[in-house]
């Protein structure tokens, strides 16, 4: 069961990373809209639950909407999460 969940989250993070790689290569400094950010945050939360103490940064839980993260910010974090798996 646990393995399934890990696989599922890993799949999500991998797909998101691919998508943000595309976005970021075109417009790295564009702000991410709230729709995309909502689903990135859902994936990161799920990853935090799976990774527990192995998550990349202790103080990083999720993106805050008002921080206006850019495509490259999101890509960096997703890459770090992918490495952590």
């Amino acid at each position: 069961m646990k393995k399934d969940k890990t696989e599922q989250v890993l799949g999500l993070i991998r797909t998101l990373k691919f998508e943000f790689h595309e976005l970021s290569s075109k417009k790295p400094n564009d702000q991410v809209n709230t729709f995309k950010l909502k689903y990135v945050n859902q994936a990161i939360k799920a990853a935090n639950e799976v990774l527990k103490e192995n998550k990349p940064y202790n103080e990083f839980e999720e993106f805050k909407e008002e921080d206006l993260p850019t495509n490259s910010d999101v890509l960096m974090i997703l890459s770090l999460y992918l490495n952590a798996f």
Binding site: K27, N29, D30, Q31, V32, N33, T34, E66, D67, L68
Partner: protein
């Protein structure tokens, strides 16, 4: 006026009817132009917009206006010239709609001689005698001293009954209080005369004069069939090829004798009706222009060399008003003097249309949001204290500096101390923040105001809890 409300209104810059009643309206979201309390809206009703409108109701109202106006000619021909002149004078001014360039919301009716001149047209021009006017705007091409403001007012008076119903309906929808106003002159279409009626209408709190709302889709800066356009384009091109009259009065006289030329002009304007659009109450600058403006701002030196401060202020005013539209309605750019220094502010109505701005209203009591513009290398304590004194219970305790660079550590600490001691929030936007707002404006993924929200949450995080 209620004394408390009077005090509140004195502190609001360019108050509108809804501000007086504490009702939140966003100009973009309502069908009518929100009236100002102390001045007119600088637009006019263009009857041509009713004529070309796809709406049957608008076309119907246009016909009513013309029928009523042509009835004046009918009266004159019947030998009731005095009644015709009386009606025309009554119709010639409409303060209740508050349109035009007056600073006082008070206009004057036309004189008897001008009214006589207009009424006489029905007798001297055969085409008008037989079939009347097809557009009210034709008067401008035949009589001197009749321009867009008169056309607009005459149209409004002849559709007064509709405008009153429209006003009442919209006031009920928005919750704007009305009171019984006695002896309002309303044009009765059936009897073709002005009658006095007692009706419920919103009133101007200062003067107790009634206010009528006007649909914004009927407003233009100048009418489609316009005197200026006729004189500067059509007349020199199509009628007079250089050796004719240069004098307007003579042209008007010539037009009366050669009414077919006026008809030709009207037909041409009717053919090109597709190009006639209402003028928006606020014009947002396009993205390319916003990018040019931010480029220009960044290239300016700080200080007053070569009027850099004036150029900076001008560019920021245009940029901010557009970046924050339609979520904040721009009220005014205004200057105030404090301790001998000229200070430029940008004031927005806080319509609380977004949760962030509602939060600012709830926390700091800001019914208007103040931006203070400073083209200085670095903010000093004096600058901060000036804005701090300006922020008070009435204006609200939230203000934003727009300046060139982030403030020094000492000033940042000073701003936090002001928040801790007086619960006043002062944010600072610099060139980079403006650039970010423009980028967001361009890429459309987020809204430019979110940069202010970001600055606010960063500021609050630094404040002691």
């Amino acid at each position: 006026m209620d004394t408390n409300k009077q005090i509140e209104m004195d502190t609001i810059v360019r108050p509108r009817l809804n501000d007086y009643h504490g009702i939140l309206l966003l100009q973009d979201k309502v069908d009518y132009a929100i009236p100002f309390i102390n001045e007119d809206i600088p637009l006019f009703v263009d009857p041509f917009l009713l004529w070309k409108s796809p709406s049957q109701m608008d076309n119907g109202i246009h016909n009513t206006i013309l029928d009523s106006f042509n009835y004046i000619g009918h009266l004159a021909q019947k030998g009731e010239k005095e009644e015709a002149i009386r009606q025309l004078i009554m119709a010639s001014e409409c303060d209740a709609v508050g349109l035009g360039s007056s600073k006082t919301r008070k206009g004057r009716r036309i004189g008897e001689s001008t009214a006589n001149e207009i009424v006489s047209l029905f007798g001297i021009i055969p085409q008008l005698k037989s079939s009347g006017f097809t557009h009210l705007e034709e008067i401008q091409l035949l009589v001197d001293k009749i321009a867009k403001d008169r056309i607009s007012d005459i149209a409004c008076n002849f559709m007064s009954s509709f405008l009153i119903d429209y006003t009442q309906q919209n006031c009920i929808d928005a919750g704007i209080p009305m009171e019984m106003v006695k002896n309002i002159s309303v044009y009765d279409v059936k009897s073709h005369s002005f009658k006095e009626e007692d009706v419920e209408l919103p009133v101007n709190p200062n003067t107790h004069e009634p206010i009528w709302l006007v649909p914004k889709r009927w407003l233009r800066f100048s009418p489609w069939i316009s005197q200026d356009e006729y004189f500067s384009n059509y007349y020199p091109e199509k009628v007079d090829r250089g050796d004719f009259f240069k004098d307007r009065i003579k042209v008007l006289m010539y037009n009366r004798a050669n009414f077919d030329l006026v008809k030709g002009y009207i037909e041409e304007r009717e053919r090109t009706f597709k190009d006639c659009k209402n003028d928006p109450l606020f014009m947002q600058i396009p993205i390319t222009s916003a990018k040019r403006k931010i480029g220009g701002i960044k290239a300016l030196p700080t200080g007053k060399i070569d009027n850099a401060d004036k150029k900076y202020e001008e560019a920021v005013v245009q940029l901010m008003a557009s970046l924050l539209y339609p979520h904040l309605d721009f009220a005014q750019a205004q200057s105030r003097t404090e301790s001998g220094t000229q200070i430029r502010d940008l004031i927005f109505y806080n319509n609380q249309s977004l949760p962030f701005f509602k939060d600012i209203f709830d926390t700091y009591g800001s019914r208007q949001i103040v931006f203070e513009l400073k083209n200085v290398d670095s903010l000093d304590r004096n600058n901060v204290n000036q804005l701090n004194r300006y922020l008070n219970e009435n204006l609200g305790k939230f203000g934003i500096f727009v300046t060139r660079h982030q403030p020094s550590k000492a000033i940042q600490k000073h701003l936090i101390d002001i928040w801790s001691g007086q619960r006043k929030c002062i944010l600072v936007l610099d060139d980079n923040d403006l650039q970010m707002m423009v980028d967001i404006f361009e890429n459309k993924q987020r809204l430019p105001y979110e940069v202010i929200r970001k600055k606010y949450s960063e500021f609050i995080q630094r404040c002691p809890s």
